[in-house]
Amino acid sequence: MEFPEGLRYSKEHEWVLVEGTTATIGITEFAQEELGDIVYVELPDVGEKVVKDDPFGAVESVKAVSDVYAPVSGAVLEINDLLPDNPETINDDPYGDGWMIRVEMSDMDDLKDLMTAEEYAEYVQKQKDDEDEEEDEEEEDDEEKS
């Protein structure tokens, strides 16, 4: 699994690419894997304000909808016009062509709460470990029963 170095990451599995005061935002490889085949993306309009930790859009797979949360606050400069007709771009290239929105940040301090690639990689690993632990425990229980 990839964790590109130059990006920052949020607990809700969004990534941020900071260039000056502009932030490009998308969802991570881990997130798109969890969702499965993405069929539709809901994006805000250019000019709208996004607020840190509030949802700014949603990503739909066949059986589920997931809100996407703003890792930083700002005003929307651009949205990725590839996504309406080709939502699967997020599955294929979540960190590149699958970017979602570009915002003009309103508060650079927002970046403080985000993780580095290394920290995010650990975070994801821990999530996976917790899941595996649950499965192992259940398996032990099963083995004890039988």
């Binding site: 539709y40 066949v62 589920a64």
Partner: protein, 448 residues
């Protein structure tokens, strides 16, 4: 016991298998006080024969369209239904199946619904249809809710024509009453029986969300949608048309060619028995760009792992079982079997058949109106063009109904309960099921 096949030995064997002595033990944990009062105090079950007789006795106390001459429309219509329709929907593979959540074993229902969606689009001239909602009234209400999802929050005024079916207006009102931001305003009708376009123009502004008109309207009048649509477009409001008699669309320019945003209506007249007004179904169509906001089920085409064409329920993330409180609607069970009846009906009648029957409706209704007005006992009601329903006025409606009842005729729907301003108003519907001889009898009886 009726429909439960368990013999005493079945029960004993099963109880042994689960390790209980009696079924009662299975619910011992329910408080005694609750269980004590749970006896269902209804008479013992009847045999199939006795049940049939009892129901036949009840049925005999109702005036049917075969025993009586009914000239009743007003949202439910007596039309011919070919016997093949019932033969198909009686098939238990259609009637006893569940909602097609396992598409591999529901291709029958799914393909039929895909065909239904296509037929409704063709009939209404609209781009997208869903798989049906409860009835025309719910469709009208859901259309308003859909407009609310699409239009910005600054637009929350709904303009409803007074010439729209009164029960539909009531249901719209019930549905929006609980949403604090929506206001419904009524637009009156004028002498022709159509919506007062001048009044509409004066009430439309940048806070208007949508305009709702009947097409044809409750009085049977075919509204001229051109000026209405122009006004809506100018004000940024959506146009919602409501068609309670879709037979009309076989001859009359459909909502899609006028440019309606959302076109809904009642599907009953297309192959569904009247059955006291239900079950039938509401059809619901819209322009393609609004598809993600449409309520209800949608059937879509796709392929399986071998590339074979197949059909599935799609865009399900709009619906309650996934979106829950953010769903486009709460609708779950709908009216599928009734939509299927319409699909078979439209397939049988086809391009020429529906048009032919519609022409008969127009011919008989216009002849009947001419004869009735010509007799002098009834006055013309409205002047607008109509399909198979029209309004006349009588001096003494009570007397007229009594004289007709003696001949087992119901001459129409008295409008007084909804439109006291139309003195002695009578809504008369004539379809292909009203024989010429019946119309003659009606004319004779009314002339006295």
């Amino acid at each position: 016991m009726r429909y439960t096949p368990h013999t005493p030995s079945d029960k004993a064997q099963m109880l042994r298998a689960i390790g209980f002595d009696s079924v009662e033990e299975l619910y011992q944990h329910i408080p005694q006080m609750v269980r004590e009062r749970a006896r269902i105090d209804l008479p013992d079950g009847l045999s199939e024969l006795a049940v049939g007789r009892r129901l036949a006795a009840l049925a005999s106390k109702n005036a049917t369209a075969s025993d009586w001459s009914l000239f009743l429309g007003g949202g439910i219509y007596h039309h011919f239904i070919p016997s093949a329709v019932d033969a198909i929907i009686s098939r238990s593979e259609f009637s006893t199946s569940y909602t097609p959540y396992q598409p591999e074993v529901s291709q029958g229902t799914l393909q039929a619904l895909f065909e239904y969606q296509t037929l409704i689009c063709q009939l209404t001239g609209m781009e997208v249809s869903n798989a049906g909602v409860y009835d025309g009234a719910a469709a009208a209400a859901e259309a308003v809710l859909m407009s609310r999802r699409i239009q910005p929050a600054s637009r929350r005024r709904v303009l409803v024509s007074r010439a729209l079916h009164p029960q539909y207006r009531a249901v719209i009102s019930t549905y929006v009453k609980n949403l604090d931001d929506v206001r419904v305003e009524e637009i009156p009708f004028e002498a022709s029986g159509a919506t007062d376009v001048e009044r509409l123009a004066s009430r439309l502004n940048d806070r208007s969300m949508c305009v709702v008109v009947g097409y044809p309207n409750f009085f049977g009048v075919i509204e001229d949608l051109a000026p209405i649509l122009a006004l809506c477009a100018g004000a940024g409001a959506q146009l919602i048309t409501v068609t309670t008699e879709p037979f009309a669309l076989a001859l009359v320019k459909p909502p899609g060619s006028w440019g309606a945003d959302i076109a809904v209506g009642e599907g009953q007249s297309l192959g569904v028995s009247m059955t006291l007004g239900g079950p039938a179904y509401g059809f619901f169509t819209c322009q393609k760009k609004f598809v993600r906001n449409i309520p209800g089920r949608l059937v879509g085409e796709t392929v399986d792992t071998e590339g074979r064409r197949g059909f599935v329920l799609t865009l399900a993330t709009r619906e309650q079982h996934i979106r829950r409180e953010k769903a486009t609607s709460n609708i779950c069970t709908s009216q599928t079997l009734c939509a299927l009846a319409s699909t078979v009906f439209m397939a049988l009648l086809g391009k020429t058949g529906l048009r032919r029957l519609a022409e008969v409706n127009v011919a008989r209704a216009h002849e009947a109106r001419d004869r009735l007005v010509g007799q002098g006992k009834l006055e013309a009601g409205f002047t607008g063009p109509f399909f198979n329903e029209f309004v006349l006025r009588a001096d003494n409606l009570d007397d007229l109904f009594k004289r007709c009842a003696a001949e087992k005729i119901v001459p129409g729907v008295a409008l007084g309960q909804w439109y006291p301003e139309i003195k002695g108003g009578l809504l008369i519907c004539v379809t292909e099921m009203n024989e010429r001889e019946e119309i003659e009898r009606l004319v004779r009886t009314i002339s006295g």
